[in-house]
Structure formats: structure tokens, C-alpha cells
Amino acid sequence: MNYDERLQQVAVLGAAGKMGSGILLLTAVEMTDLSLKPENKGKTFVLNAIDLSDEGLAGLVDYLHIQILKIAEKKTIWLRQMYADRADLIDNSDIIDQYVEDAMRIVRPTTAMETSYRSHLVFEAVSENKALKVKLLQQIDSNNPNKPWFFTNTSSVPINLIESEAGLQGRVLGFHFYNPPAIQRLVELIVTKETLPETKQFALDYAKALKKVVVPSNDFAGFIGNGHFMRDALYGINKALELSKETTFAEAVYIVNKVSQDYLVRPMGIFQLIDYVGVDVVQFIMNVMNPFLKDEDLHSDLLDQMMTLGVKGGQFPSGAQKNGFLKYEKGAVVAVYDPSKGDYVDTASFSSKCDAFLGAMPQEFKPWKSAVRLSDKENHFTAYFVAVENMNTAGSKLAMDYGKNSDAIGRKLVADGVANSEADVNTVMLTGFFHAYGPINSYFN
């Protein structure tokens, strides 16, 4: 079975979810493009979009329609060639509409798992729960005569456990997209000792077709991305708790968030990133990873407390940020949650006090948005972090410690054999987390 044949019968589990919908979009576009190749004319391509939620599937169809239209508008020059034999399609608008129609015809939104029993390839993007993943994959495999391949989007569960518990014997690999899959270029690829070479090769071909950057990660819980992010988040949480002995809790969260965003020149502060991913998801991933770690305890009582209080973050279906550690208005942080009060405290009431505590930013500072576009980032960040250190303020000390810790986490991932190289760790953080510089660097020594 060649690449095109493999992609003729595909299913996505959890298709209406945040990750599933993106995976579905990219796969639908790839399958539609394949279906337009002259040698594939007349062949049927089927992409089952499977999800438990009828409402979610309705939303998925709307999302796909809008996104596929935009994609078609950007590749009309190519589409005119592909539809050259269709005398009835003349204007660009005719051709674009036809492409959207062809793509939507491939996608079959359904709540019925049974539709995947004919698939040759199954993407799994259900919630981060090993037992659930194993159950679904086992059920499909036992009912599907095609010996399908399974690509799981898990960001934390070791693939070999899914493989052995579901009895998949080499037909599964980790294909971990980053959120949102349609935009983030990174894919972490995780194979087991059993993974078939042809399955891995297909994964590489598929990633290439999707113009993704593939970073191989070894099969350790959390892989590279969460291996770094979870430890980095725990460091931030603990740093805030430590600071809160001298300040209020809200002030401490504000300070650590600001240090991790502004001083470290990242797209988001660490508490905003936790909210973006979801407090619940972070807690869950830590719980998945922790049993596999020998000499550390990847756990936060604070996250448990937030979950008990029902403060979860995450996103609305529209993509807007829900309140978590921080409260957002039109995307901007306006307040910080205080668990002891059970309510948000406006940042306006304490931000100037915290800013004064942190001290001035060095003149060399450029916010992430402009720094990320610099052609010579290395020189800029070298000079910038020297300036940060020389400021000798509370802010600069917190930032340098934070950067050192982030660097140490990165090096540990290589030392522990999770990542094959320092470059791989940096690529994951640069392309999956949009950092402006890799965590493993010489800026904090």
C-alpha cells in the first residue's frame, strides 16, 4: 500500500477537539490534494471525523469550511492546473468553490466509531487519558481487518505502553502536533522499538507534505515539549509560591508571569501559558509523567487547589482565552486569581508596586514580537542578557535564575535520553512554543 492508498481511508478520533479539528483540517486538505492528482481521479477518499459531540461536529464543519476556503484562495494558481480538465470551472471563484466542495465531500462527520473499522490510518486526538486511548485503539483494531496504522497525538503517554496494552505490535507511533496544528510547524515524532519502518517512513512523508518540522523524541513520558514545559511551569509556580511569602499571592503570580514573558522575551508569561494550555491539562500531564520520573516530583498542590476551585483556563470554541490564573479582557491580562479570596484581584491595584520591585528593564530590551523577527538574534540576546544581569535588580535576578533553570531542564532532557540532541530541544521550543531563542544557550552562564 503506497502513500496515496494509505490516505484513501482515514479516521480522526476526537475530531471536534482543539487538536483534532486542526489535524482533521490538515489531513482533509492533503487528501483532497491527492484526490486531484490525475492518477487518483475516480478514486474515493474518505476521512471520518469521529467525535462524541454532535454540537462539536457541527462547529467542526463550519471551521473546516472557513479554513479550506482560505487555503484554496491561497493556492488558486495550482488549483487552476488541477482542474484544467473541468470545462465548467472557469473563474477562480468556480475553482475555489469546487475545491472546498471536494474537500467537504471527503470529510464525513460522525459520532459512530464503527466508521473507522475500514480505515487504513487512524489519528487519535482524544483526551489525554491512557486507558481511554488504549480502549478505543484496541476496539478499532479488533474490528478492523486492514491492520490499520495508529498515529496518536498524545503529548505525554509513552507510546510503547499504548502499543503493548492495545496489542498494536509496531503499528502505532506518536505524531504530536502543537496547538494549533494548522499554524504551529512542529511535530514531535515518537516511535517505539517495534514501530514498523514503513510506518515511520509514511509519517515522515506525511509531515513533509504538511510542511511540518519533525523533531524525533524518544519514548519518555512527556517527550521533549512537555518534558520542558511541565518542569518550566512547575519552576514558575514554585517561584511564585516562594515570593508570596513576602508579597500577596496575586502579586507573586504577576511578578513571575512578567519575568517569564518580558525579561525572558517569550510570547507569553508562564501563567498565561498554563491558562492557554489549560490548568486541567497541565495537571493531567504532570500526573501522567510523574510516575515515570525517578528523582523528581512533578506535581503541584496549587494546580490541584485551582482545579478544586474550578479555575481551569483553556479556550472557548471561538479561540478566546478563558480565565485561569489570570483574567483576560480582549486577550489582555487584567486581574490575577487569589485562591484564598476565591476571586480575581485587578492588576491595576498592585502592578506599579510590583514593577517598582522588579526594577527598570534594560535599554536593550525588545519585546518578543519584534525580537523574534531580528535577523541576528544571537548578538541581540547576548547583549540583552548581559545587560539584564548588569541591572542587578530583583527582576534581573529572577530572570537570570529562570533562564538558568530553563537551560538546565533542556540539558537534562538530552542527558536523560529523551532528546537526541540539544538542537532538537531548541527546535521544539522555537517552533512548538514560538520562543525567540532556544532554552539551551550561553546567555545565562
Partner: protein
């Protein structure tokens, strides 16, 4: 000409679209109605009484598709209530619609059915994405050839012409001329507050142009985006009147230009251009207008030519006889068409710099010539060589299909 015909009281709206700081495609913007009204009222504000306008001509290409609006003649009275129950009609000849509006007005005055006419041209194109706008503009060609054309149909047509030009005369040689054409357009537009590229502040225009090599994967094979005119919303209007008409309006000769001659020729739209290296219809139409005026091109001091693409500018230079075939690129590269050259062209930026609201362009060209010859051109004012007292405008519809050429002189 059977009688003396004059133009006066010209006006332009801003040419709105990408490049203007105030342009935001996500926000609601002025529509067709506002543009017609703004340009029309700016003309009426320069004459004594709208009642004196006998007839209105509105040039427009594709409001039917861009704005889902036909029947533009009916908008005349929105300019001034005194224009209601007067003859008003719209004319169409693709991007030459503005020129046809001028010609229709001239003919009406010549036919003595009017002493004073208002010629207006308008287009509002930013109602759709460029990829769909390309469909609309493609109807300036023969629809039966649309299927085999490029996604960006007209850029594709002129890219083909450019490709042949490169092949025959050399890529680097040709790009020098085209790049200079682009730089001239932007430098001129920066002097005109209504120009779409008025806000352009790029210091190194040559560098900008030279670094953007044509790439057929993303656009067309032989042109880059700087070789192309803009997608624009805009309107222009001008009075065309007899001598009696000027008297009625209370306007003196010092504020008017005289139309010495005009010509309007049309080629068979179902045929390909007879020679990709020649703008045959422009050549014939310009020659006819100059002959009717009894002058040679060497007496023309400034020209507005239809540079929907930079290659069209170069080929127009050759079609006007200013340079031998293949020498147009050198003529432009040497600065002969820049604002201090032998024959300054497109002194307010042309279609690449000022903008190209398709149905409005022909009228905008006339307004620019009127401004230059009457000393009303503000910062864009050129010094007209007294040995070359004439102005010339060339407005084109489609790929050299409908052409309007007008020769002007100070009244």
C-alpha cells in the same frame, strides 16, 4: 474639431486601497455612492451653478460585480438635486471606461446637444479579495479565453508580453526600464496627497524592486507585484464644455484646457494581440489623435499613459514613437519620462503610483493633464517646456482593445 471644446474644474477623490494608511479592509468603507458624490460635488463646487450642467456621463467598468450595482446614470442627482431629470448615462469599455466617458461628453458638446457636460469615472474594487477581483477584471478580455488564462488573468496577459520582451531584448536590460518606471511612479505619487502611494516611504525603491524577482509559483512568471497597478477605490470628474458653456459657468480660459483632438479606436476582442511586443491599438489611436491635432509627439510636453503594468508603460512609450521597438526600456531607464525628463509621464503617479480605480482612470488622467497645463498641480507641478506645449492622455481597456487618446493644450 468642428468647434472648440474645453475641460475645466477637474477633481479626484483619494485613490483608496493598500498603501493608504487609513485603508483597513476589515472596516466598513465608503461605497460607490460616496465616491460618485464626492468627485461630482468637488467639480460642482468649482462652477457657479449645477443647473448649468446639461448632461452627465459616468464611466464605470464592473460595478455590477464589484458592488452588485448597475444603472449608474441614476446616481447623477445624488451629486446635486439640480441634476435630476437631466440626461445621464453610464458607459463601459473596461479600464477605458473613463476615457469613453470623456469621449461621450466631447461628442455631445460637438453635436450641440449640450454646452456643459460632467464626465465622471468611478470604480470601487476593494469589495472582494484580489483572487476574486481577478475574475471580475478578466471580463475585460474575451470570456471564452478565461479558462486557459492565468488565475490573475490580466497580470498573466502582460506577463506574457513581458516574457517575450525579455527574450528578445534581454531580461536585465528590460528590468532596468521597468524598475525605473516603478520608481518614477512612486516618487510622483508621493507628491500627490490623493495618490494611493502617497504614504510610501521606502527609501530604496530600486532595491525594493530588484529584490522582488518574478516568481510564477506565487504570482505570474515575468512580473512582480511592483510591476502592477493597484486595486483601488476612487472617482474622478471633470467638466467638458463649449466656449459658451465656459461663459455660462463663469470660468475663464486661464482655468481651462482646450481639447485639440481625440481619437478612439477598438480592436477585435476575440483575437490575440497581433504582436505581443507592440500595443497596436495604442499606436494607431495615438497616431490618429496627433494627426488630427496636426502635431508630432515631439511637441507633447507631458503624457498620461495607461501603465496598468510597468511593461504596458514601456510598450506605450514605444507605441507613441518616443523610442524604437526594444528601446523603450532604455528611454525610461535614462530618465526621459521622469518628472524632469524630456517628456514627464504620469506626473501624479499613474496607475502604479496614483492608483487604478479602473472605470475612473481615464478621467483621472484628464484631471492630471488639466492640473499640469493650468498650473494647478500643486507639489506635482512640472515645468512644461514651451517648445512642447501639448498634453496627451492614453487610456486603454483590456489588452490594447479599447483605446482613447486625447490631445490637450492650455486654453
Amino acid at each position: 474639431m468642428r468647434k472648440r471644446i474645453f475641460m475645466t474644474a477637474g477633481a479626484n477623490t483619494i485613490s483608496m486601497g493598500t498603501g493608504r494608511k487609513e485603508f483597513n479592509p476589515r472596516k466598513e468603507r465608503a461605497g460607490l455612492e460616496e465616491y460618485i458624490k464626492e468627485a461630482g460635488q468637488a467639480v460642482v463646487g468649482q462652477i457657479n451653478d449645477a443647473e448649468n450642467i446639461d448632461e452627465i456621463f459616468i464611466g464605470n467598468f464592473m460595478a455590477g460585480r464589484y458592488n452588485k450595482q448597475g444603472h449608474l446614470g441614476g446616481f447623477a442627482a445624488t451629486i446635486d438635486p439640480k441634476l435630476e431629470f437631466k440626461p445621464s448615462l453610464s458607459v463601459e469599455g473596461a479600464c477605458g471606461s473613463g476615457g469613453l466617458s470623456l469621449v461621450s461628453a466631447i461628442r455631445s458638446v460637438l453635436a450641440e446637444s449640450a454646452d456643459v457636460t460632467l464626465a465622471l469615472g468611478v470604480e470601487v474594487q476593494n469589495t472582494m479579495k484580489a483572487i476574486y477581483g481577478a475574475d471580475v477584471l478578466a471580463s475585460a478580455g474575451w470570456f471564452k479565453k478565461r479558462k486557459q488564462g492565468h488565475a490573475y488573468f490580466f497580470p498573466g496577459q502582460f506577463s506574457d508580453r513581458a516574457g517575450v520582451y525579455y527574450e528578445k531584448y534581454g531580461f536585465d536590460y528590460a528590468r532596468k526600464g521597468l524598475g525605473r518606471w516603478f520608481r518614477n511612479a512612486i516618487e510622483n505619487a508621493r507628491l500627490d496627497p490623493t495618490a494611493q502611494e502617497f504614504h510610501n516611504q521606502v527609501a530604496d525603491l530600486d532595491g525594493l524592486y530588484n529584490n522582488a524577482l518574478p516568481n510564477g509559483k506565487y504570482f505570474v512568471d515575468h512580473l512582480n507585484l511592483y510591476d502592477c497597478s493597484k486595486v483601488s477605490d476612487g472617482a474622478s470628474a471633470i467638466i467638458i464644455a463649449s466656449e459658451e458653456g465656459l461663459d455660462k459657468l463663469g470660468i475663464g480660459m486661464e482655468d481651462a484646457v482646450e481639447i485639440v483632438s481625440y481619437a478612439q479606436l477598438t480592436r477585435n476582442i476575440t483575437n490575440d494581440p497581433p504582436n505581443p511586443l507592440e500595443m497596436t491599438t495604442i499606436k494607431k489611436t495615438a497616431a490618429k489623435a496627433l494627426e488630427l491635432a496636426g502635431i508630432s509627439i515631439d511637441q507633447v510636453g507631458t503624457a498620461e499613459v495607461h501603465d496598468c503594468f510597468s511593461i504596458a508603460g514601456i510598450l506605450a512609450v514605444e507605441a507613441l514613437g518616443l523610442a524604437e521597438p526594444g528601446k523603450g526600456a532604455a528611454f525610461v531607464a535614462e530618465g526621459n519620462t521622469s518628472r524632469d525628463g524630456i517628456i514627464p509621464m504620469n506626473t501624479t503617479g499613474g496607475l502604479i503610483g496614483w492608483g487604478h480605480p479602473t472605470g475612473g482612470t481615464g478621467v483621472h488622467q484628464a484631471v492630471t493633464i488639466w492640473q499640469q497645463l493650468t498650473g494647478k498641480a500643486g507639489k506635482t507641478q512640472i515645468n512644461l517646456n514651451p517648445d512642447r506645449p501639448y498634453g496627451l492622455s492614453i487610456n486603454m481597456g483590456g489588452d490594447d482593445v479599447t483605446v482613447v487618446a486625447i490631445v490637450y493644450k492650455k486654453a
